[in-house]
Amino acid sequence: MTERESGNRYVIPALVLLTFVTIYPVSYVLYLSLYRRLLIFDISRFIGLDNYLFLFSDDRFWNALKNTVYFTSLSVSLELLFGLCVAVLLNRPFRFRGWIRAVVLIPWAIPTVVSARMWEWIYNTDFGILNYLIGSKINWLGSPFWALNAAVFMDVWKTTPFVAILLMAGLQVIPKDICQAARVDGAGGLAIFRRITLPLLKPVILVVLIFRTLDAFRVFDAIYVLTGGGPANTTETLSIYAYKVLFQTLQFGYGSTLSVVVFLCTGGISIFYIRLLSRGIKRTLHD
């Protein structure tokens, strides 16, 4: 037996595991999405692409997709913006820096369901601290306009620390001497940030974006606990829609179709970012 062959043998357990936990479920969902299947009534009928055809005319699906895209783009861009500010601030030397860094991480450390319950009370119309502080009577989670934005705000609060920590790690590997050299050449703080820090941080920013976009696109727990998808489905995202179809009404066929769409979307997003990332890295190497 050659060394290569024996090497292959060692990979088998990993392959078997991957087949069981990813390839098999994904193909099973694809297979289910071609069926009309109601488990509880023992109904299972092959209907080809009918589920997908209905999907195109399903207002509720388009509404969920719109909500998901809105939630993802707004929350990820705000998190990146705030996370960058926090990272730059925490990267400067000051007293108690270690403590502050730890404290900033607290929102990220709280389980999502717990913080969603907490925000539910903060947003409460009658007893919530938010209305008390700004002296208003806004029904944050009940109004079609505010509900999704309230969910975005909670997500930003919760995930900004995560973005900040990743970006801080990126900032720390930027060599100090480049900045010093720029300063000797007469560059100001802003110019250094734009011309040196940002370009060198780009790979880390892309990694952050991949993580956050994929997470935000599949958002479930935060919104489910906060609003359950209401009012009038203005906060229903694709994952919540799929969950309701799959587990509240047990329509396995159509629910799988929705899951396949979520899968295709996240797949597309990953490919887009990975291309961007590999191009970014190549350019950095060329420079």
Partner: protein
């Protein structure tokens, strides 16, 4: 390579065989008392009073012990619990209480024992027709109605008298009275109901749809997007924006918040279930003695309609003690116990004869006065697919009420989705 895979697989398969064998239950000891588990939602009133009824059953039936277990208050969570456990063939509970809308679904799925033989010939006629319709699936009875509910109109007797009005019989009268009084009384809303995206919203909307001559299903097809239904849904939105008798807060309100607003004297009219009455009549209640109850108003030239609620008792198909479980159901739905439940915790009997019982007439005149409303109360569409259809209707109704969609758009979108669900049967 194949042998390597086999080397792993065979022991795994053997192990799983071993464990599946080990799981089978040893033969039941005949000497021990049969324990039956009774699952239900929260029981109203003092838990001690319900416990006493259970204890009475145990003393009348030596050899049977009853363990009663309470599920979360939300009916949707209860439904999910039963679906998951029954689909998994759980035998952890024997008798359970079901919302009026679940029975056809559970019967269709084969999770309920046929209870037709529990009712003697003609006994079914003693029960109200609405609940009987709801527990009957393909000519068989799968659950026994336990207590009944229906949508009612609560009004403030004192305010109506003060301004010289009689209780309204049509919606137009209600609007006129509500506008008149809420303009003159400070901080009093006109008419409140339940408009949040949940099952209660469907109950509310159906009362307007039926009251306007419409329906949701006909011969197993969706008829939700008819002009009558559009008109009915639009009327509910108009109560908020056009007539301004309903505050926008109903769009997020369920039963309790509206009961609270009415109970602190801040509304002239309220649509709610009968349970609110006892709370209004409690000592210290600001509206004690000032509340009147009637059937909901009607549209001109049409009949008023009220949505049926209430709970039914059924037996888990996978129970190991069907005889004991049947005894418990027969006991809990017997005239005597229904009467006792009405007297102690205010559950409304499902047997019509009790409404002529002299003792009950004297002690609980309020319950007895609801007889005519219960007689006419209509069950929500009796279909195994009701829960799926309701999941479709809830957001669409909610969107129409909050003005995100027009009533036409909401109902035609609901129509498409309901048709897609019903296609399963074709």
């Amino acid at each position: 390579m194949i042998s390597a895979v086999h080397r792993v697989l065979i022991p795994v398969l053997l192990l799983s065989l071993f464990f599946s064998g080990a799981c089978t239950r040893p033969e039941k000891d005949k000497e021990r008392p049969a324990v039956i588990v009774f699952k239900h939602g929260k029981i109203a009133g003092d838990p001690q009073q319900f416990r006493q009824i259970i204890e009475r059953f145990e003393s009348e039936n030596p050899g049977i012990k009853v363990k009663d277990e309470t599920l979360p208050a939300s009916t949707d969570e209860q439904h999910q619990f039963y679906v998951i456990n029954l689909e998994g063939r759980s035998s952890d509970f024997d008798v359970f209480s079901m919302d009026v809308i679940w029975v056809p679904e559970f019967a269709r799925a084969g999770w309920l024992r046929d209870l037709s033989h529990l009712l003697q010939a003609g006994e079914g006629k003693d029960f109200f027709q609405g609940p009987m319709q709801a527990v009957t699936y393909r000519d068989k009875i799968y659950a026994i109605p336990w207590y009944i509910d229906a949508g009612l109109l609560y009004y403030r007797k004192d305010l109506l008298e003060k301004h010289g009005f009689r209780p309204p019989e049509t919606w137009q009268e209600l609007i006129r009275i509500a506008q008149h009084i809420s303009e003159r009384e400070r901080g009093v809303y006109g008419f409140i109901w339940q408009g949040k995206q949940y099952e209660g919203l469907v109950c509310n909307v159906l009362e307007y749809i039926w009251g306007n001559g419409g329906d949701i299903l006909e011969d197993g097809r969706s008829v939700i997007n008819t002009p009558e239904n559009v008109e009915a849904l639009k009327f509910m939105r108009d109560l908020i924006v056009e007539y301004e008798v309903t505050p926008p807060l109903v769009a997020t309100a369920i039963e309790e918040p509206t009961r609270h607003i009415f109970g602190t004297g801040r509304a002239v009219f309220m649509r709610n279930w009968p349970y609110a009455w006892n709370i209004f009549e409690r000592e210290g209640s600001p509206v004690r003695g000032k509340v009147g109850v009637s059937a909901l108003p009607a549209f001109p030239g049409k009949d008023s309609a009220s949505t049926l609620g209430g709970w039914q008792l059924g037996i888990n198909r996978y129970t190991r003690n069907p005889e004991a479980a049947e005894k418990l159901i027969a006991f809990l739905t017997s005239p005597e116990i229904q009467k006792q439940l009405a007297l102690t915790i205010g559950y409304k009997p499902t047997r019509k004869s009790l409404y002529h019982d002299p003792y009950l007439v004297r002690e609980q005149p309020f319950i007895v006065n609801l007889y005519d409303i219960f007689m006419k109360a209509r069950p929500r569409p009796v279909s195994p697919y009701y829960m799926m259809i309701s999941q479709v209707m809830q957001p669409e109704f909610s969107a129409a009420l909050s003005g995100i969609k027009t009533s036409e758009e909401a109902l035609s979108s609901a129509h498409r989705q309901i048709e897609f669900i019903l296609q399963v049967e074709q």
